[in-house]
């Protein structure tokens, strides 16, 4: 290995890649543009949907309305609901999304309630339909309050204390600090994005520098030079790694910028809207993240980036043409995403076993680090195993470059 020769190859490949429009797009333009578009787009759409759902209110149909004038009066007084005229095809209308929920009552509902006969009211909704689900929950909440009010009225009539229905109070209080909430809500999402960026940033240059060169005939030219193959491999490897890290860095800068600008924007909007739903929505985009955790994430991603670069170089070196390389590297991205997605699932926790599974371990430990938990033995184990995988990947890559049936595949 000769560092000067590696540097010569590296600088030439870097210059070459910077002149390639496709590399510029995949490592600089795309990661810079995609983050703000995704975050702003997501934010704007979410805010719109929530606002629209609130403005519209839940339309509800009372089936058997003739027997429940009091209930209807109370329901109409609640701004959350819009009571629509009773028709027979309410089930179909819910299915058609024209109606969110229906309340099915017996014909003499209020008469039954008055004499103390147990009556049944059914909330009809469409499972899996978000707006219908929200409507059903609201309607249930309303009916429970309505029932409590009736009970309290009866207790009062008989001169009994209200505490009879409520032997104790029940409250809910959040003890998680904001960065913990941030780490838990988007902590799983950030490493997932980083892993994908790292991989996709390395993909194009890796294919261009191996299969692409074989296809264009420059690989043989390069092998004619007296430099040993290992220097060529390392020069190319460093180029791919640079592209991978650059993709990540551009995306991170763009993400941070978007969060700074977008955060204040959404916070302002939320305050103006004065609604709890909008507030919680904007809090979802701007959770606090431990900056030390972010540094930890980058440190642990480094060996994984090395592994990706080596893996992609090896796989695409095997291909005869750029097209063939694409058909290998394309499916590989799914192989990479699956363990990353597993890390997002609840219940999969860091253990001595999961700490050894590449990519999944990164996904899991990043979630913890971003929420401020530093599990040093696991972090060490993950860093160590990632470095080992990276070294194996590089060794296989060098081996591939020395195999003439790979370099001169007919």
């Amino acid at each position: 290995m000769n560092w000067q020769a590696i540097l010569i190859v590296y600088l030439k490949e870097l210059k070459d890649q910077l002149r390639d429009r496709r590399t510029i797009i995949s490592t600089i333009v795309l990661p810079t543009v995609i983050m703000p578009v995704m975050m702003f787009g997501f934010g704007v759409v979410m805010t719109k949907i929530i606002k629209k759902a609130q403005d519209e209110g839940t339309n509800v149909m009372i089936v058997g309305s003739a027997g429940a004038p009091e209930l209807i009066k109370a329901l109409k007084a609640d701004p959350k609901f819009r009571v629509v005229a009773e028709t027979g095809d309410y089930q179909q209308r819910i299915a058609d999304k024209k109606l969110r929920v229906a309340l099915e009552l017996p014909a003499d509902f209020e008469a039954q309630v008055r004499v103390g006969q147990p009556a049944t009211a059914a909330v009809l909704y469409y499972e899996g339909e978000i707006k219908s689900g929200i409507g059903a929950r609201e309607l249930e909440g309303f009916m429970q309050k309505y029932r409590t009010a009736l009970v309290e009225g009866r207790l009062k009539e008989r001169g009994l204390p209200l505490e009879l229905t409520k032997p104790f109070e029940l409250k809910r209080r959040n003890v998680a600090p904001p960065e913990k909430v941030g780490g838990a809500t988007i902590g799983g999402f950030i490493p997932y994005i980083i892993i994908i960026l790292c991989f996709s940033g390395a993909m194009y240059p890796a294919m261009d520098l191996t299969a692409g060169e074989k296809e264009r005939g420059t690989m043989e030219t390069l092998m004619c030079s007296p430099t040993s193959r290992i220097n060529i491999v390392f020069g190319k490897f460093l180029t791919v790694l640079t592209a991978s890290v650059a993709t990540m860095v551009f995306a991170m800068i763009s993400m941070a910028g978007t969060a700074l600008i977008g955060g204040s924007l959404f916070a302002g909007k939320a305050a103006a809207m004065q609604s709890a739903a909008a507030k919680s929505a904007s809090a979802g985009f701007m959770p606090t993240i431990d900056p030390a955790g972010m540094l930890g994430v980058f440190a642990l991603v480094a060996p994984v980036a090395v592994f990706f670069a080596a893996l992609l170089l090896t796989v695409s070196l095997f291909a005869k043409s750029y097209k063939e390389a694409q058909s290998y590297a394309g499916p590989l991205i799914i192989v990479v995403i699956i363990p990353a997605v597993f890390g997002l699932l609840p219940g999969i926790e860091l253990s001595a076993k999961t700490a050894l599974i590449p990519i999944l371990n990164l996904s899991l430990v990043c979630k913890e680090m971003l929420s401020g938990t530093w599990n040093w033995p696991f972090i060490g184990l993950i860093f160590g195993s990632s470095c080992l995988y990276a070294a194996i990947g590089l060794a296989v890559c060098v081996k591939m470059f020395n195999r003439e049936d790979v370099m001169f595949r007919a």
């Binding site: 030439k12 002149r19 420059t218 043989e220 030219t221 004619c224 007296p226 001169f408």
Partner: protein, 265 residues
């Protein structure tokens, strides 16, 4: 007297001993691309390797250039074994083939500079060498243009400059005039001849008979991986009792039927 003899016939620069190269192919099984080929070539000589398509010219030359390793046999170039000391061999060799292309996104100057650097040359040496080669090959006007916009002739000139940037003692040219017009082809033939005058060892493969007649000191005819005959042009004329190179070639490989059979394989 002895000294004069030594100067006239110096030690061989290229010594190929029983080179054999087999490939394993999924469809065709084991292919013997080069079959027990031996030859030598001395400085100041042009060795012409003449063969039909698929005869094994490129594979033989790749073995010399250390790009491939022989299955059996050895090859010594400038005193170095091509397998055990491949880096030292490559430092002495310039290899040019149809399969050694240029980096399209680099300019001709950048391309030549890159290979100068890979050969361990300093900036000044590279600069001087580019000036010299550009003059000899008449490439000043396109030196700073990108290679992907070049005509075939410009590309070939740039490739030759890339091959020779480190002034190698041995030059291996695999069909260097392929696809070129008459004027460019002549310029390249003239350039190769000048290399011989400077005492370089040149191996030149082709299937163009006229180039062999005009250029080569020794002619080796390769057919189906085997070196079927070898000698100077007068020697070959005498051996096959034919004045014309094309007739000599056809006779040497065993008639037209043999060529057709080899092509169909």
């Amino acid at each position: 007297m002895y000294l004069v003899y030594f100067v006239v016939t110096p030690n061989p620069m290229i010594e190929a001993h029983n080179l054999t190269k087999t490939f394993k192919d999924k469809k065709r099984g084991v292919i013997t691309a080069v079959d027990n080929v031996s030859f030598t070539c001395r400085p100041g000589q042009i060795y012409g390797l003449l063969g039909a398509n698929g005869a094994g010219k490129t594979t033989t030359l790749r073995l010399l250039a250390t790009l491939l390793q022989p299955t059996t046999g050895t090859c010594v170039i400038a005193g170095h074994d091509t397998v055990r000391a491949s880096e030292q061999v490559r430092a002495q060799v310039g290899f040019l083939a149809a399969s050694t292309a240029l980096y399209g996104r680099l300019t001709a100057r950048e391309m030549i500079t890159y290979f100068g650097e890979l050969n361990g040359m300093g900036d000044d040496a590279i600069h001087a060498r580019i000036k010299q080669l550009a003059g000899e090959l008449d490439m000043h006007e396109f030196l700073d243009r990108r290679c992907d916009k070049f005509s075939t002739g410009m590309k070939q000139k740039t490739s030759i400059a890339r091959t020779l940037v480190h002034d190698p003692a041995v030059m291996i040219f695999d069909e260097p005039t392929l696809g070129l017009d008459v004027m460019t082809a002549r310029a390249i033939v003239k350039f190769v001849r000048r290399c011989r005058e400077r005492g370089k060892t040149v191996i030149y493969s082709t299937h163009v008979m006229s180039e062999v007649e005009k250029l080569c000191d020794i002619i080796g005819i390769i057919h189906d991986g085997r070196l079927v005959t070898e000698g100077t042009l007068p020697q070959l004329r005498e051996r096959y009792a034919e004045p014309d190179m094309e007739e000599i070639f056809v006779k040497a490989v065993g008639g037209e039927a043999a060529i057709a059979a080899a092509l169909n394989r």
